[in-house]
Amino acid sequence: MDFREHQDNARKNSRIIWVLYVLLLLFSSFLIGWTFVVGLNLAELYQPGYEQYSFWEKFSLSNAFIFNSNIRQLETLAGFSATAFIVQGLATLIGFFKKSNGHKVALAFNGELITEDNADELGAKQALNIVTEQALAANIPTPSFYLIPEEGINAFAAGKKAENAIVAITHGALVHFNRAELSGVIAHEIGHIVNQDIKLNIQISAFVFGFTALFFLARFIFYSAIHNRRMDMRAKLFMFVAAVIIAIIGMLTVWMGRILQAAMSRQREYLADASAVQFTRYPEGLVQAFEVLKNGKKSTKMENPSSKEYAHAMMFGIGGELFATHPPLDERIKRIQNNS
C-alpha cells in the first residue's frame, strides 16, 4: 500500500468536506434571511388593496422588491442572514472550545487503566507493549492504555491533546486478535491521535450542533408569536409560517450536516488505516484483523450506552446506520492490499 498517497488523498477529501460545510452554513444563513424578508414583503402585499394579485404574483413581487436594487430591502436581508450566521457560528464555536479529556471517555466505558504495575496477564502486558511500540513509530509520547470490559471486538482513541490522549481496546479484542493483528488495530488508533481526528470530530459535531441552533431559533419565533397579545392574527400567522419554514431549513441542514459528518468520518478511517500501515510497515496485520471480524462473524457491538455517542471514534462500525461512520470492511481491505 502506498500509504503516503492514501494519506494525501484522505487529507484532500477532508479539505473538500470542510469547504462544503462552510458553503452549507452560508447557504442556510442566506436562506433564512431570504425567508424572513420575503415573508415581510408578503405580509405587506396581503394588506387590503392588493387582492387582484394571485399568491404567485405576490410572491414574485416580494422577490422583485428585494433584488431590484432596493437598498433597504437588501440591508434587511443582509441583517437577517448575518444574524442566522452568527447564531449558528456561536453555537459552533462553543463546540470548538469544548475540552475532551481522554481518560474521562475511557472511564465512561468502565475502562481499566493498564500500567506496568497491574498488567499481570501476558495478554495485557503484550497490549501495553504494543501501544509503546506504535507510539515510538509514530513519534508521539506513549498514550495511556485502557481495557474495556466488553466482549464485542472494538477499539478507540480519545483525548483532544496528545498529552491526555488514550488508546482503549475491548476485552473481546484482546482475546480474539494475535500480536500482529492487535498491532495493526492499535497502530490505527494511534493514527487517529497523530492525525488529530478526535479534535476534528469535536469541531464537526460542533458544526452540526450549530445547525440545530436553527431549531431553537424557530421555536423561539413560534412561541413569541403565539404569546404576543398585541400582534394581530395576520402577523401571527406569518410568524408561525416563518417558524415552520425555518424549522424545515434547520432539519434539512442538520440532515446534510450529518451526511457530511459521516463522509468526513469515513475519510479519516481510511487515513487511519494508511497511518497504521505506515507505523507497522506490515499491512497484513491489519488486514488479518479485518478478516477475523468478517469471517468469524464476531460482534463489534458494545453494550455500554455511551457507545453510540462515540460511534465515530470506534475502530469498527457498531450498527447498520444510514449514515455509516465507517467504510465497509471489504473496501478497507481492498485499499490496504492494493499495490502491496
Binding site: 502486558k125 503484550q126 507493549n129 504494543i130 511500540e133 506504535q134 515510538l136 513509530a137 513519534n139 507505523f279
Partner: protein, 202 residues
Amino acid sequence: MDFILQNWLTILIFAIVVIWAIGIYNKLVSYKTQYQNGFEQISVQLKRRLDLIGNLVDAAKKYMEHEKETLMAVTQARSGLLNATQAAEKNPGDVNAMATLATSQVTLDSAMGGFNLKMEDYPDLKASENMQQLSEEITTTENRIAAARQGYNDLVQKFNEYKKSFPTVMLAGMFGFGDNAKNLEFSESIEQLNEAPKNLFG
C-alpha cells in the same frame, strides 16, 4: 519619515519576505531537532535491549553451564554493540559510525541465533515462566527498536522533503542546513536481521 511613506510598498514587501524567511528557518530547526531526538529514541531502545540480553544470559547460565562458547559469543557481541552505539551517538551524521553500528547489530543477532539453537536442547529452560515473560520482553524490545528506527527514518524524510522543496531549497544552504539527514541503512543482509528475533524462541 518621508522615505517610509514614499517607499511603503517596498518596505512592506521586504517585511513580508523577512517574516516568511524566519518561518522557514524555524521550521528547518524544528524538523532537524525532531530527527535528532528520533535518533536518541533508538539509542534508548538499544540500551534497553542490551540490558535485557544481559538478564537473558544470566538466566541461561544456570541451565547452560556447558555452553560456554555460545554464551561468550553473545556477551562479546553485546559489548561490541555497546561501543558502536556510543560512537554513533557522538556523531549521528558520520557514515562510518552508522556502518559500524549496523555491523555490530548483525553480529549480536547472529550470536543470538546461535544461542537460540542451543536453547532447543534445554526444554526446561524454554518452558519456565521466567523465560516466557522474558520472551515477550525481548519481542517487544526488538519491535521497539524497529519502531524507533522507522520513526527516525520518517522524521528524516520529513526534514529532507521540506529542505529540498521549493522555495525552502533556496534558503536552506544559507541557513546552515546544507546536509541532508541520513536514513538508517543496513548494508548487511536484511533477511538475517529480520529472522534472528523471530527464531529466538522457536
